[in-house]
Point group: C2
Chain length 242, copies 2
């Protein structure tokens, strides 16, 4: 497949952006690298003339942007998503560098929809948001001053994706048939119901159990068939305990 087609399958998701100028800068950064699909989760102000001014010729990206109210809506239908994060996190899923993650993101974009998720200007993404994505990715910055502007971070990631998507590549292994975001979320809801009904999980006393489960499954990239197997097992156990 043509690399430009892969770039067109990549969503840039900006979560709860405070400054409309940064939305415009992100749109411009995307278009310079051949990306076009912008999702905005609860932007503070959009549309906004400040965003239009900063987009400076990438207004088509802003006009086509989809405004949604939750991260789940923005990720609906994706097969792979990366959470852009600057902070080290207490997580078992290792943080990958932008350059190392870009070829995989571009390769999956040839198979289906892929997303890159950026948090707010001041506090980034919440831990919950990061956990909903397939893996965290970071830009290796100066530890003494890692404070990249949001538009600049979008520019760097889109550049890495363009370099990866348009690079001549060696023939690759056939990619596994990954479960979609909604299939994985459906599995987590199913598991939570089953754990609650069985008494193993007490919603009144959660003790981070759900997060631990998400991290565990987040370390592997679940395939569709594997989700079917897991849900089959849970379903079978549910019926057994009736």
């Amino acid at each position: 497949m043509n690399g430009a087609v892969a770039l067109d399958r990549i969503r840039i998701v900006l979560s709860r952006t405070s400054h409309p100028g940064n939305i415009g800068a992100a749109a411009r950064a995307m278009k310079t690298m051949g990306l076009a699909r912008l999702y905005l989760v609860e932007p503070a102000s959009f549309p906004d003339p400040i965003a239009d001014a900063r987009a400076s010729g990438a207004n088509d990206v802003l006009e086509a942007a989809r405004v949604v109210s939750t991260l789940d809506e923005a990720l609906d239908g994706t097969i792979l998503s990366a959470a852009v994060t600057g902070r080290r996190r207490e997580r078992s899923v290792p943080v990958r560098l932008a350059r190392d993650a870009a070829p995989e993101l571009a390769a999956y974009a040839e198979q289906g929809e892929v997303a890159l998720v950026f948090g707010t200007e001041t506090s980034g993404l919440t831990n919950e948001d990061v956990e909903r994505c397939s893996f965290p990715v970071s830009i290796p910055a100066n530890p003494a001053f890692p404070s990249l502007n949001l538009g600049a971070a979008v520019q760097l990631l889109c550049y890495e994706l363009r370099m990866a998507a348009l690079a001549p590549t060696a023939p690759v292994e056939p990619l596994p048939d990954l479960a979609s975001f909604d299939e994985i979320e459906g599995f987590h809801r199913h598991l939570e119901r089953a754990m609650t009904a069985s008494g193993f999980y007490d919603p009144a006393n959660p003790k981070r159990l759900l997060q631990r489960v998400r991290r565990m499954f987040g370390r592997i990239r679940l395939e569709r068939e594997e989700v079917n197997i897991l849900r089959g097992i849970i379903g079978a156990l549910e019926r057994k305990s009736d």
Copy 2:
């Protein structure tokens, strides 16, 4: 040598920047990647509170910035310089991609001063400015919309330099002892005088001769010893024709 030391030897030169906000954005971009040495050639407005606001924590870079009135002053003492350009140019020196040029720039920064030169927001660098640099370098952008914001272009190049400077590298060939900018300019002035005195070059009817000479020597990365040899030849010829 430590890669961070190399980064500290790299000058970012902004030529005739129109908008002080872009100077602030460039300072922030530099600092996030560990660069600190900013040179401003005839900025439209500097210092400026708009630059301070956009620098957002990188005000130390702005305070240490050197304002100069010609590109030659900004390049004085450098051994290698790259002109960042978006346009294809009628030139015999091939344009190199940022990713391919960064390792060489970083390696030379371990030996001496290195510069990256950026032009104005609207028209970039003049051909004359590009010819004064060792080679042109470009960011591979969407051909339908290659219009990167100046701060974003600085961000991408500084990122590539950081990745190159901090990458674990295999042992490299010893680098040649390159002539400095002033030595090369001294050579060009000497050659021009000799060509004029000899009647080969007519300043009243230049016919792009000097540019052609610059392009030719620009393709060779002149070493100090080579400049000495060339000037020795010219000097010998001058004396012979007296």
